[in-house]
């Protein structure tokens, strides 16, 4: 299954793109997706470990399963205000 992960700020700069697509197994949860993201794009590995995923515009819950239709984003190093 393919999951597209949107990137912003420092994560987008590190990846050189506003989104990346990663291959995951069906039933993949948010922790597995972060791990897979770091493997697919090594430059993102530290942020994928430390950051949080958002699924459909809300922070993912521990163990939350990702499906192919979800909008997924890596939320790391926010700096608003």
């Amino acid at each position: 299954m393919e999951v597209r992960v949107r990137l912003f700020g420092p994560a987008a700069e590190l990846a050189g793109a506003g989104a990346v697509t990663v291959q995951v197994d069906p039933g993949c949860d948010e922790a597995a997706l972060r791990s897979r993201l770091g493997e697919s794009v090594p430059a993102l590995a530290p942020l994928a470990r430390q950051g949080r995923l958002a699924i459909n515009h809300a922070f993912a819950r521990p163990g939350q399963v990702v499906t192919g239709g979800d909008e997924v984003a890596l939320i790391a190093m926010v700096s608003g205000g």
Partner: protein, 131 residues
């Protein structure tokens, strides 16, 4: 109790005149402005990138939590997207409450949470760099 969340293009506009409701004894207004330097280097401004739908939802969630936890009357927040020049306002939070102490605590907590949870990123545009 009321909540207002606005993401605006560029600088946050000046505060509109208005009078609080009869139960309000304290109106606290915080404005965050763009400093002229980042990490010791002069800048001409900051460019804000916003994950818009989620940022609005998170700001609303944090505002609801602040109202419930501190018994506020209202919380209004504006945040910039795009470029804000030095000295411009990029964040305004207004907290209405019956008394000042709960408003001051709520403001501190709200801004701390904003900086932790709301998907907004700022990038300095260096002085002397491309316009």
């Amino acid at each position: 109790m009321s909540i207002e969340v606005r993401i605006v293009e560029g600088e946050v506009p000046a505060r509109a005149a208005g009078r609080p409701g009869p139960g309000v004894g304290s109106v606290i207004v915080f404005e965050g402005c763009v400093r002229g330097e980042e990490r010791g280097r002069a800048i001409r401004g900051l460019a804000y990138e916003v994950y818009e739908v989620m940022a609005e939802r998170e700001l609303e969630r944090l505002a609801r939590e602040a109202l419930a936890r501190h018994g506020l009357t209202a919380l209004r927040v504006w945040h910039s997207r795009g470029f804000v020049a030095v000295a411009g306002c990029s964040l305004r939070v207004e907290v209405d409450s019956p008394h000042r102490m709960e408003g001051l605590r709520a403001l501190q907590e709200f801004i701390d949470a904003l900086k932790r949870d709301v998907p907004i990123w700022k990038r300095p545009e260096w002085a002397g760099g491309p316009a």
